[in-house]
């Protein structure tokens, strides 16, 4: 079978530019001002809620939430709420024309609860009113007759950690007959034998917390009824095509009658996946019913209660190694605290199992991942998507192993890491760009690892310093989660300006700038010629979801294909207009176009475009790219789960106050192998932004529930994220560019990878600062709040 043309194009460009240094490109890898920077910093109305000022005669939709974390709904009385001034309707589950479900992966989550509520964020009714205030006030008057059920906050009440069997309990999802959402496993080699032969075995229990995305923009949706019975929705959503599907299901409409547009998002980090579907569906219900624009705006508290979080995990890890420091085997059990609904949990659990042994050569492994429902806010997608939760225990284990073996943590890792030509634990052959060794060495050099290790070990006094490393790999794109494709369209206008369309969204991550740089590089036009249209299900081609660090590689490939085809046609035309020897000799440096050997004889880009118009050379192109299907064997956990991996090494340098337990990061070094830097500013800011978000996860962020399942920290005064003053004084950022042949100029993703190994690098640095074998084992969960670190210091008897 011959390769599809799009694969050939991507390969051709990759091999043609493989040896070309990134500095030698014109736009790729350069510091280019982001296309949307000026409108954002000058406060233009770019976000969904901003658009309210252009909307006339709206109705407002407010979600009445559950009063119990787990209860049966015996009855619902909306009569008082209906009498409240300005109230138009109180919608309940019965008012849904289509299917009452917004479950992302499996249909387990009603849009409006009908039989029971499973967490405090469940919606029991929607109040539609003339003002948001009236809707909220009337919401207080909706009276629900609940039969409270036992509230489960700890997954270990539901699953036995020894046997991983479900315990008898009052089911949260009685309709499913089980509160185990999903199980994944890896079974390779002979683990028993490996442990028997091992010189050193270390085992420990680990915990990672929930994490709130804390994006700046709380959710918002505006739905506008269309004359044909359809609806157009502007909403904060990362994945407008998924949102369209959810809304169409709820309304019982065909997809083409639902148009979803994603304006700029004020942050997403994965959090704007499911909740985007939910808010869009709620607003659309009201818009269709009242034939008026319908607006839904979340407060910060509604946002925190109403959208998914990073899954909390509890895990048990055992590692076996030989005396010379070779990893022999891994055994692990990982429990995901699912919260009330599946959301993207099945995929998160899968990514967790894939990455559960880290970027190491592992021949013997027995791993089980189980996702267990509880009555908490659902876990869902969050930058890293299951990988941070397993990288933390793995990288802690590596440091404990190194200590047991008397090896330096870097040397120990170098002995076991994956290199080109190795196979992953799943048996996947790594036949390209494994830049991990280079990344580790560069991080060691930039951070001054060896000198600091030595120096810090001799420091005296109550304030200690420590330095720690953590490494990781991260599968790009969605792997075996589904069909993996991307598309864009490029339309050159008659004046030479360019319209760029893709269903990928901008949530502040700036990935679109990478696509602009690629398009500009191939066409030979400055980036400011290109205008990016909003992701719009009726106007932009479906590019798959904007998730999983896939925009640069997948969207970039589609962009590359479209740009390549346009460029070929324009080169042909230019060669004939200018009389170049061959189309390959045409140089486009818009506004100038000339033959390579005669730069003095030029035509303009605009003239070229005009000629194309008259001569019938099409000026629009569609770019499509489909990734090779991933392979995964459910029984053994083997195959080729992702087509490529981003690698990285993080070194954190911390200060620990032995008297208070306070940890401060002084310096951070991040080195990522991203194949090729296509957007330098974006990549550097991701390295830093990912670090800071990871540092919050490591040091201060967690959710606190009372015993009834009510969240205690529902806003940013009690959910603490780092401030500018908490950030390290110094960042060393470096990129390794071990290219991937099926990616644009070799580029791989960075969005999620930039958070994956931050927490373990900080935890390892803290453990290093404590200089105690016992404390090393006790650093087994985060956030590493002063309370917790001080309790370790006390327990391990660490003295100044």
């Amino acid at each position: 079978m011959s390769k599809p043309d799009y694969v050939e194009i991507v390969e051709e460009i990759f091999y043609k530019t493989k040896e070309k240094k990134t500095e030698e490109f014109k736009y790729v890898g350069k510091d280019v001002v982001r296309w949307d920077a000026i409108s954002k910093i000058s406060g233009q109305p770019v976000y969904t809620a901003d658009l309210l000022r252009f909307i006339k005669n709206p109705v407002f939709v407010y979600s009445v939430r559950a009063k119990y974390a787990h209860a049966r709904i015996k009855g619902l009385d909306v009569s008082d709420a209906l009498k409240y001034p300005g109230v138009l309707a109180v919608l309940t589950a019965r008012d849904i024309p289509g299917i009452n479900d917004v479950g992302y992966v499996i249909p387990d989550q009603p849009l409006i609860a009908d039989r029971k509520v499973r967490f405090i964020g469940d919606t029991v009714a929607l109040v539609v009113a003339e003002s948001l205030e009236n809707a909220r006030e009337a919401g207080e008057l909706v009276s629900v007759d609940y039969e409270p059920l036992k509230v489960y906050l700890d997954p270990l009440e539901i699953i036995d950690p020894e046997t991983l069997q479900e315990k008898p309990h009052e089911l949260i999802h009685d309709e499913r007959g089980s509160d185990i959402l999903t199980r994944y496993k890896i079974r390779v080699g002979d683990v028993e034998k490996a442990f028997k032969e091992a010189a050193v075995v270390v085992e420990n229990k680990y915990e990672t917390p929930f994490q709130e995305h804390a994006y700046i923009e709380p959710e918002a949706a505006i739905a506008i009824p269309e004359a044909d019975g359809g609806v157009t929705i502007y909403a904060k959503t990362q994945c407008p095509f998924d949102t369209r599907k959810a809304v169409a299901n709820v309304l019982g409409l065909p997809f083409n009658m639902v148009r979803v547009i994603a304006p700029a998002l004020g942050g997403g980090f994965g959090g704007a996946e499911d909740v985007g579907n939910e808010i869009a569906a709620k607003a659309a219900l009201a818009a269709i019913r009242f034939k008026r624009p319908a607006v839904l705006l979340h407060t910060r508290e509604e946002s925190i209660i109403g959208h998914t979080k990073r899954h909390r995990t509890i895990s048990w890890y055992r590692h076996a190694a030989s005396r010379d420091g070779t990893l022999l085997g891994v055994e692990a059990k990982i429990i995901l605290d699912k919260g009330a609904y599946a959301s993207l949990g099945p995929f998160v659990a899968w990514r967790a199992v894939v990455h559960s042994t880290g970027p190491y050569k592992v021949r013997n492994a027995k791993v089980d991942v189980v996702a267990v429902y509880t009555n908490k806010i659902p876990g869902g997608a969050f930058r890293g998507f299951g990988n941070p939760q397993v990288t933390f225990p793995v990288e802690r284990q590596m440091d404990i192993l190194a200590e047991e073996l008397g090896m330096d943590p870097v040397e120990f890792r170098l002995k076991n890491i994956l290199r080109n030509g190795d196979r992953t634990v799943h048996g996947q052959l790594l036949d390209h760009g494994v830049g991990l060794e280079e990344a580790i060495k560069k991080a060691v050099e930039l951070s001054g690892w060896y000198e600091k290790r030595r120096l810090y070990a001799s420091l005296k006094g109550p304030v200690r310093r420590g330095i720690g490393i953590a490494i990781f790999y991260h599968g790009n794109s969605i792997g075996a989660e589904g069909a993996d494709y991307s598309s864009v369209s490029v339309i050159i206008q008659r004046d030479g300006s360019i319209v760029f369309r893709t269903g990928l969204t901008d949530m502040g991550q700036g990935a679109i700038q990478g696509l602009i740089n690629i398009l500009a590089e191939v066409l030979g036009v400055p980036p400011h010629y290109i205008k990016v249209e909003l992701a719009d299900t009726s106007a932009t081609p479906d590019a798959g979801p904007t998730v999983a660090s896939r925009s640069t590689a997948m969207g970039g490939n589609a962009t590359l294909v479209a740009a390549y085809k346009l460029r070929k046609r324009l080169d042909q035309l230019a060669a004939s207009l200018l009389g170049c020897k061959s189309p390959d000799d045409v140089v486009i440096e818009a506004p100038k176009v000339y033959c390579r050997d005669d730069p003095s004889h030029t035509i303009t880009w605009r003239e070229l475009v005009e000629q194309a118009f008259w001569k019938g050379v099409p000026l629009q192109e569609f770019g499509y790219y489909r990734a090779p299907p991933a392979e995964w064997d459910e029984e053994t956990g083997t195959g080729a789960p992702y087509f490529t991996y981003t690698y990285g090494a993080i070194v954190s340098d911390v200060e620990v106050d032995l008297e208070t337990g306070l940890v401060r990061v002084k310096e951070a070094t991040t080195v990522y192998d991203i194949g090729r830097v296509v957007n330098r500013t974006g990549a550097e800011l991701h390295a830093i932004g990912g670090y800071i978000q990871g540092m919050g996860y490591a040091l201060m962020e967690d959710l606190y529930y009372d015993s009834e399942g009510r969240l205690l920290n529902t806003n940013l005064s009690t959910y603490h994220i780092p401030t500018a003053l908490d950030t390290p004084e110094k960042f060393n950022v470096y990129f390794v560019e071990a290219g991937y042949y099926h990616a644009p100029f070799g580029a791989k993703g960075l969005g999620e990878p930039s958070i994956v190994a931050i927490a373990p690098s900080i935890a390892n640095a803290v453990a290093n600062a404590l200089r105690s074998r016992e404390a090393n084992k006790l650093v087994s969960k985060h956030p590493l709040t002063p309370d917790y670190v001080y309790s370790i210091i006390k327990k391990a008897g660490v003295k100044p």
Binding site: E659, T660, Y790
Partner: protein, 290 residues
Amino acid sequence: MFYKLPSFEYFKARSVGEALELAGKIGDYRFLAGGTDLLVDLKIGRYKPRAILDIGGLRELSYIINDGSRVRIGALTRLEDILRSSVVRERLPLLHEAVYHMASWQIRSVATIGGNIGNASPAADTAPPLLVHDAIVKTRSVRGERAVRLEEFIQGPRRTLLEPGEMIVEFEVPASPGLEEYWAYRKFGRRSAFTLSVVGLAVGAEFLEGSPVFKVSLNSVAPKPVRARSVEEYLKGKTLTDSVIETASKIVQQDISPITDVRATAEYRRHLATVLLKDALKEIAGRLRR
């Protein structure tokens, strides 16, 4: 659960006199200064007053006056003005330092010192320095003026000696050469900025016939900001040697009664009180030796 502002009648006072008259008449009201505490409290339903009396615009109560042995600060002086005042920086450095660590520029630009004390939060950050200075709270109503020691004025969480119709008009803060020179402040929060105190601590030394008298105050460790009287008693007439500091920082446990909340456990707060006090006393001992 999803907070909204309840309805109320709104009055904007054009003078202190008018505010007091209105207050006397209305009965069920709340003063609104910067609103940075009050708006949150209204939204969560802590207060449901019939009326809001907006005194935020009364510039006549916004001043910092260097008045010989004391500094007088108008109740409606904004925290940012306090931070920028050279009088405060030189004569009340503890207050300067505490305000420096409060909130953010945006909040400090509307929040007032009267609101911080009037709110009577156990975590009020201006309280420890003001307590160390033995500040006097001046109040006024149509019935006349009163002067109450701050230590008595704050009674417990959100409770003060303020009577109906009474307004805080001024803080009279005794200054002394000792406190200008020998002071130490610590604030321990959940992060490095923009955070409420998990424990806040102000320590200063004044001189009586040539020998130092130590004054210690903490917040967030009791139902209200407290003076650590047992510590002060113990330190009377002593020199700050390492062992004295050690003992003093343990004695502080008798002066506090912290609780567990989302910011920290009671046990950890107790530990912090000792650690921070030890640290602060060492800093002062160092300065005294010079």
